[in-house]
């Protein structure tokens, strides 16, 4: 048996994201084909180059009745390679990238495709909400909690501890809609105001409709490889770190509600692995499933001191065109770009890759050389952090 060298460097060589939104006339098969074919074309690779397929998805079983997703998409894509579904709630996409990263780093495969995909809007909202609560704890489900309610508790705790206001949280949504307006694949390509957020329907006090990311359809794909010399493509971005941390499923067992411990730990591991500091990061895609989640992410990833992220966001310090050090969620984030849960973590890698290549068009972050992607499952039970370098 031939022994492969270990600890290979891993590169992103092809990326693609489909339109995110209410894609009622597009099937999961079509979405997958669209994303993967475009990513492979971008990478300049052919089916014979692909040694593995990793599918990030959360809800295909509960909503679509379709499990065995690896083979399902392997067939559709006519790859017929080792293929599996990676599930970690809303962090499924990030976890799939992590699994793919490890498969290359171990020397098992040299070139693989990661597909993140979710089809949510064909189903009744109450069914989707029930399915999403599969990411929570039994106690939370028994109590009738849903994720807006759980994140509302996190928001209340943050407000109480640091004086964070509803307007502060609204500023996250305003920024991310502003960024989404520059992204043709985003679900919501229009700007909103603090007043519109404040006057939108209350979903779970203090969170209002426009504090919440939407239910979406969409797919994203990335091609990862260790074969920098064999693939005729100049667009290589190195995956310098891939780190995962987990925590309790339920909020009640957490030591603190003003931070996501899993994010902190995954972030610290990733910074160590990549040999970079938080202040070295130029652009980040963070998991803003609710506006409070972006505030928590900025603090837990050390982009802002504890209790100071809201002020930074409100002052435009992480907004495209105004930021001095780092831009947060140039794609529009989950709030503006949409949140097809299994696709989100892969889309984040695609976005950061585009930013580091300098091909992000009118949402390009100037001189971006190091980027970070942060994907969360549930209310923080899983956190995945990737650091990419040009």
């Amino acid at each position: 048996m031939k022994h492969q060298p270990t600890n290979m460097n891993v590169y992103v060589t092809g990326v693609a994201t489909t339109k995110f939104g209410e894609l009622w006339d597009v099937s999961p098969r079509q979405l997958a084909r669209q994303a993967v074919q475009a990513a492979m074309k971008d990478a300049g690779v052919h089916p014979e180059h692909i040694k593995g397929l990793f599918v990030g998805n959360m809800l295909s079983g509960m909503l679509g009745g379709q499990e065995h997703l690896g083979a399902f998409f392997s067939e559709e894509l006519e790859l017929f390679v080792p293929a599996s579904k990676i599930e970690g709630a809303c962090a499924s996409g990030g976890l799939a990238v992590h699994a793919a990263f490890n498969s290359i780093r171990s020397g098992q495969y040299d070139t693989v495709v990661v597909l993140g995909i979710e089809k949510m809007t064909d189903h009744r909202p109450e069914d989707v909400a029930t399915a999403l609560m599969g990411a929570g704890s039994e106690e939370e489900r028994a109590a009738g909690a849903t994720f807006p309610g759980l994140y509302a508790m996190l928001a209340r705790a943050h407000m109480r501890a640091f004086g964070t206001t509803e307007e502060d949280m609204a500023a996250v949504a305003v920024k991310n809609h502003f960024h989404a307006g520059k992204n043709q694949n985003a679900q919501f390509q229009k700007e909103i105001t603090i007043e519109q957020v404040m006057h939108s329907s209350r979903i779970a006090d203090p969170l209002k409709l426009l504090d919440c990311s939407p239910i979406s359809d969409g797919a994203a794909a990335v091609v990862l490889t260790s074969q920098k010399s064999k693939i005729k493509n100049q667009k290589f971005v190195e995956v310098a770190a891939s780190a995962v941390a987990t925590d309790t499923l339920g909020l009640a067992q957490r030591k603190s509600l003003t931070e996501l411990s899993a994010t902190k730990r995954a972030g610290e591991q990733a910074y160590t692995m990549a040999g970079v500091r938080p202040k070295d990061i130029h652009v980040a895609e963070v998991h803003d499933c609710f506006t409070i989640a972006e505030i928590l992410a900025l603090e837990d990833l050390q982009f802002a001191k504890k209790g100071k992220a809201a002020e930074a966001i409100r002052n435009g310090e992480v907004t495209l065109g105004r930021a001095k050090h780092i831009v947060i969620n140039p794609s529009g984030g989950l709030k503006g770009c949409g949140h097809p849960v299994g696709a989100t973590g892969v889309k984040q890698i695609a976005e950061i890759t585009e930013q580091l290549r300098g091909t992000a068009g009118n949402r390009q972050v100037a001189r971006a050389r190091i980027g970070l992607a942060h994907n969360v499952g549930g209310s923080g039970a899983t956190a995945v952090v990737h650091i990419l370098k040009m």
Binding site: E22, W24, T121, R124, H199, S201
Partner: protein, 347 residues
Amino acid sequence: MVGIVSYGTYIPVYRISIAEIAGVWKKEPAEIRHSLGLTQKSVPGIDEDAATIAFEAAFRALECSQCKPQDIEVLFVGSESHPYAVNPTATIVGQFLGIGTAYMAADVEFACKAGTAAIQAIAGMVAAGHAQSGLAIGADTAQSKPHGVLEYASAAAGAAFIIGNDHLVARLKAETSFSSDTPDFWRRDGIRYPSHAGRFTGEPAYFTHVLGAARRMLDMADMKPGDFDYCVFHMPNGKFPRIVAKRLGFSEQQLALSLVVDHIGNPYSASSMLGLAAVLDHAKPNQRIFMVSYGSGAGSDACIWETTAELQKVQNKRRTAQYFVRQQIEKNVNIDYVQYLKQTHQI
């Protein structure tokens, strides 16, 4: 030429405001009013159902015409709230109208466009010489689950049109339909409340079918929006008909008279027919009306009507009897949410 011989309308007197419903569920009334474009809806009395409402509308249509009940050879009732799953509403209505037994009766179901499907079917029978006149009725006591979004719009009313070929108040100049298997809203037999596919009810459903039928109708007739005095569209809420009229190029003035939704909500099968009646109440002879219904599931029927001098006779009778749609809208009694639940048999 086939057309409308007479028409009758019935709107239950009871109203509940959107603010009252929103208040019960701790929703912001202004936000609901803005998002749905509604202020209040009609509610059936405790002893009213689709059959009694259909009867009231049909009785008034006959009362304002020169027809005798025995002249009616076809009677179709379109509704999605027929009181019986098996046992026709049409024969109950026919019996109480005193039509006799020499008539064809059937219930029609196609969500909110069953009534206009009845108009088209009877018009076809009259044009083919199988009947001299028939009654097409759209009547509903629309169901909606408490705390569901449909609760703000689902209303009760009926409209009846006598379709014939003599003494016409409006000629049917052309008609067409646009249908597809698009399940945006449904209710299985034995299930109390309808289900719907949320925002899917908009673009792929209402707008695709209404615009599809409308554009086909305009092409077939070689006419444009400016050739019409009025337009009427199905009114599931206050926003959709305004948006679709604008997209097609109709003006606010052309649409204004038909917008009964602003005052009574969406009485499903009666919605576009009531809008047509509201226009006929005020139209002058030789005016053209463009009408498109919509039924979930999904389909739209488009008709072009042209009024005649005979219309004034029916208008005079309706005005005197206080049957104008506007007069019925203005005659109302406001009720609270508990009374609403009682009258709709939910408690």
